[in-house]
Symmetry: D2
Subunit: 109 residues, 4 copies
Amino acid sequence: MSDFEELRQKLIDFRNERDWEQFHNPKDLAIAISIEANELLEVFLWKDFKEAKTEKVKEELADILAFCILLADKYNLNVRDLVLDKIQKNAEKYPVEKAKGTAKKYTEL
Amino acid sequence: MSDFEELRQKLIDFRNERDWEQFHNPKDLAIAISIEANELLEVFLWKDFKEAKTEKVKEELADILAFCILLADKYNLNVRDLVLDKIQKNAEKYPVEKAKGTAKKYTEL
Amino acid sequence: MSDFEELRQKLIDFRNERDWEQFHNPKDLAIAISIEANELLEVFLWKDFKEAKTEKVKEELADILAFCILLADKYNLNVRDLVLDKIQKNAEKYPVEKAKGTAKKYTEL
Amino acid sequence: MSDFEELRQKLIDFRNERDWEQFHNPKDLAIAISIEANELLEVFLWKDFKEAKTEKVKEELADILAFCILLADKYNLNVRDLVLDKIQKNAEKYPVEKAKGTAKKYTEL
């Protein structure tokens, strides 16, 4: 069994034991991802990144990933495949010869 | 090789071919995760979730996951382990007998 | 007429001319504020703040403020009063003698 | 004195009494706005908007507005004028005859 499949199953079990699927419609899961992403951001607020606590980064990253896996599950999306597909698309949007060494958005390249 | 290790390596290769590590300090990666999370939110804006396009959900989820994997890599964190650790912690914060069927935060249980 | 009252009326007129109130339930307005806040964040992504373009900061700030004023209107809240009330509350949470020169959250003071 | 000018002065006084300007570079202020916007979103998470508590909406709106006013001040922007300018621009992006009754983005009209 793959990593993602293992995590997906554990997260679904956790959710179902608590009868939480009723709250997890895709729109609220997307809201939850944004909220957790901002709890991660708060770890860095008013600071240089070197002062941020790794333990907190780790916990907030876990929350974001958990909700991403649960949202992917709602659409029967395979997490590995969707990231691989996006890397492929981004390789076209950001060809090495144009994108090398610049942080510009593809619309400005 | 695990799924995450495969994705991590491909994302690092993609980044390094474009010489982008110089931009990827942890604070900016956290900002990028929040921005992508909000591009995902935009797919649901002013709509019932049923009207949201799966293809767009898929692409935005991929961007969030990619930046999460790159940020985890900055701290040498193993993505599988950090999610498993958090499930364990949340099981303590949200015991089944208290959390079942309610969307309340653990601070209010 | 106060500034806020002037802006509120112009924003409500803009919305009503387009028959958009049907989309503006408070939850979606809150989502819109987060999305606009992240468009503002994108102006600073991968950059030192000195490289951010003032014109873009200005436009994104306007979008955030507009949705805040529209959301306040939904609850019949007076924008001036709610900010003044919060300054009062924050003065209690962050007394000068404890908070001076530190970026710590009040829960850690 | 206008509402905004009154709020701006009170917020600057509050900040200066605590010697906080050192933390308030524009990039971190933009991060703070996103974090506060997501605390507002959390008021609506897993809920119909009717269940959200007005008192919490009010407090989070105040935090967002306060950081917006402080960021505008960094660029010497007049809050009233920037919202009025944006209403003007949006009137061009969303002409009544095209935008009426639809939630589509201007790029799709």
